[in-house]
């Protein structure tokens, strides 16, 4: 016999488990499963080791940057500068290394430094200047693109073979970039779900005012989220640099939006507070696998675009409906 009278709203709490909330949370995984099954059953050349390898390698770059974007979106923010930051890292890394393996370590540090500086700048713009994050990071996008073109106006440099392993190597049967993505995803998940910082990220995104009342330094949390985002974008930039093997000035363009799409399709609310990296990871895989399937099926690129748009719309619509009922 329970001691709670009446209120059905207390019901979810009784068991600490709400079925519909769980369905909403798992929706993207279900979609991923369905797409996988369809792929394996119906798409020629899909269920091969080579294809799995290709998908994982391609997903790694978007995956890593989307992990970072998840932090910012969870706090209720948005970061449009990640793509250009990845581009900058790609250009700087390959441009400076010029194929010299001795420079790998300095380059990694430089990339992380770029991420740190960008993240702090974005974060300060949002918390200190209190400008809308969309505007701050849109301006940062422009600034970073400017820096890229100050450094070079053309494709430069090359990656040493050791560095290329970051994108093309394997550890055991698993592609190195996939392992990196997996490792970072686990770290991010632990941070978000199992550390005070992660809890505060959710709290700030859910209600900054109330989080502040609880004594959480909301500005510092927001700032940290932008730093995490930019550092992860810088790491994604390193993987991209290894994958491209040269410094292409337009390398990162588009990742700002595709990472946001991945985060949202993965179930993180753009208003902040709800969601997490697990869904983001599933969404990245879902989107990458879908693109590969359409390629393997020989669907016209124009039609692929329509399919992509419809998938985003339907995914989000279905997801929203689930969450609303929950």
């Amino acid at each position: 016999m329970t001691s709670v009278p009446a209120s059905p709203t207390a019901r979810p709490g009784l068991s600490g488990f709400d079925l519909r909330e769980q369905v909403a949370r798992l929706g993207v995984w279900v979609a991923l499963g369905v797409v996988l099954v369809v792929g394996i059953v119906a798409v020629p050349n899909f269920a091969t080791a080579a294809n799995a390898d290709a998908i994982l390698r391609q997903a790694a770059v978007l995956g890593i940057v989307a992990l970072g974007q998840t932090f910012v979106v969870l706090t209720g923010g948005i970061d449009l500068s990640v793509g250009m930051l990845m581009g900058l890292v790609t250009v700087l890394a390959n441009g400076i290394m010029g194929g010299d393996p001795a420079l790998i370590l300095p380059i990694v540090l430089l990339a992380l430094g770029c991420g740190l500086v960008t993240g702090v700048a974005n974060g300060l713009g949002v918390v200190a200047a209190r400008v809308d994050p969309l505007i701050v990071t849109l301006a940062m996008l422009s600034v970073l693109q400017g820096v890229i073109f100050i450094y070079t106006d053309r494709t430069v440099g090359s990656a040493p073979a050791e560095f290329r392993d970051l994108a093309y190597g394997s550890i055991g049967p698993i592609p190195t970039p996939a392992l990196l993505l997996g490792g970072l995803a686990v770290v991010c998940w632990v941070i978000l779900a199992r550390t005070p910082f992660g809890r505060y990220v959710h709290a700030v995104g859910s209600s900054a005012q109330d989080a502040r009342k609880a004594g959480i330094p909301i500005d510092r949390i927001r700032l940290a989220a932008y730093v995490v985002c930019s550092v992860l974008a810088a790491i994604a930039g390193l993987v991209l640099a290894a994958r491209l093997g040269s410094g292409f000035t337009g390398a990162g363009a588009g990742f700002e939006l595709s990472s946001i799409v991945a985060v949202v399709v993965g179930g993180t609310a753009l208003s902040g507070g709800r969601g997490g990296v697990a869904g983001t990871l599933a969404a990245v895989l879902l989107l990458t696998i879908l693109a590969t399937m359409l390629n393997l099926l020989g669907i016209s690129p124009f039609a692929q675009r329509v399919v992509n748009g419809v998938v985003i719309v339907v995914a989000v619509a279905v997801y929203t409906a689930q969450r609303r009922e929950a």
Binding site: N45, T48, R154, R243, S246
Partner: protein, 367 residues
């Protein structure tokens, strides 16, 4: 080799040049013929194009599954190049009738992924145009390693291990031809502005270099400003409006792409300053051709940027798959049309966003 004609021509002109730059009056060659430019302006890397490639590793029996990896498709030129690929492939029975096309939409990461997808679905040959030559090269290397030949069409020439052969249009040469033509039209004197494609692209980089190299030999010409019009007619027009406001006198405009030429010319026209300016040649973009037809007095003619490079790429691919010897590069020559001849290329019935072509009707882009 196709390239020999310009090189021979170049040599002749180079001899004539001994007297000085002013002597290069015929630098662009005869109207309707491949452009000819002085040897000093031939891009050095293009010379490796004559390297012979061993294609025996790629030889296989038909039918061949031909695949196309496009770096981007939101551009009428590449759409026409694609239609040339389709047409040319239809002429060779050993190609399967179905051609697989992927689109990376300017994302090199995706283009590498697309190429991997093409490898995984058993393509026998990959024709591509890159988001960026070197940035997608690792993907191409995988294809070559898997025994799948790769042919680059439309972009510049690139000498990289992942590229078996290039059907290339020399952006530097094209830029140099345009710059020389403009310099001659100005009589070596005047103030010019330069409208380039998207910053950082091979086209923008090579054309800019060509212009500056040519201007080095024409000290009487002053380059006032350079802007990136992004192959975008509206943007070119907007930038030109600002130029018109900034500079009371503009004698010439260097803009070797027809979309931008049309936008620039319109802005001058609307400002009532069409009379003061000379244009560099544009390309055979139909909107520019129509402008030429309508304004015979003020245009710079045409140096073509032929989408038929796509068809040349297929021919090159056919040789590779047959095990025939090919060169690392096959030059798709840009043709020079003087203003009075260029008007004849215009297709008044076709849209502006269209390219002069010889494709059969069924291979024209669907609309």
């Amino acid at each position: 080799m196709d390239r020999r004609i310009p090189i021979v021509g170049t040599t002749l002109v180079a001899l004539a040049l001994a007297a000085g730059p002013v002597a290069a009056q015929d630098a662009s060659g005869e109207s309707g013929q491949p452009i000819v430019i002085p040897e000093q302006y031939v891009s050095p890397e293009a010379l490796t194009a004559d390297t012979v490639v061993d294609t025996s590793a790629f030889a296989k029996e038909g039918p061949w599954k031909l695949c196309v990896s496009s770096g981007y498709l939101v551009n009428s030129w590449v759409v026409f190049a694609l239609q040339h690929i389709r047409y040319q492939a239809s002429l060779e029975p050993r190609y399967e009738s179905e051609i697989v096309v992927t689109d990376a939409n300017f994302d090199p990461n995706k283009q590498i992924g697309d190429i991997t997808d093409l490898i995984n679905q058993g393509c026998d040959a990959i024709i591509y145009w890159p988001v960026d030559d070197t940035a997608i090269e690792p993907g191409l290397e995988q294809a070559v390693a898997a025994g799948i030949p790769t042919v680059n069409v439309g972009g510049g020439y690139a000498d990289l291990p992942g590229i078996v052969s290039n059907a290339y249009i020399d952006q530097y040469e094209l830029g140099a031809a345009g710059a020389l033509r403009l310099a001659e039209a100005l009589g070596g004197q005047g103030k010019i502005v330069s409208m380039l494609p998207i910053a950082g692209t091979t086209a923008a980089v090579d054309q800019d270099k060509a212009l500056r190299d040519v201007l080095a030999d024409y000290p009487g010409i002053e380059l006032l400003d350079t802007q990136n019009g992004d192959w975008n007619r509206a943007k070119a027009k907007e930038l030109t409006e600002t130029w018109l406001q900034r500079y009371p006198q503009i004698d010439g405009v260097f803009t070797p792409a027809g979309q931008m030429s049309a936008g620039v010319a319109e802005a001058f026209d609307e400002a009532g300053r069409l009379g003061e300016v000379r244009f560099s040649p544009g390309d055979e973009y139909n909107g520019w051709l129509k402008w030429i037809a309508a304004h015979p007095e003020s245009n710079g003619g045409v140096v073509t940027f032929p989408p038929s490079a796509g068809g040349v790429g297929v021919q090159q691919m056919t040789r590779i798959l047959s095990g025939e010897e090919v060169t690392k590069g096959i030059h798709v020559p840009s043709l020079w049309y003087a203003p009075e001849d260029a008007a004849a290329l215009a297709d008044e019935a076709a849209p502006d966003d269209w390219w002069a072509n010889d494709l059969p009707a069924e291979f024209l882009p669907a609309s």
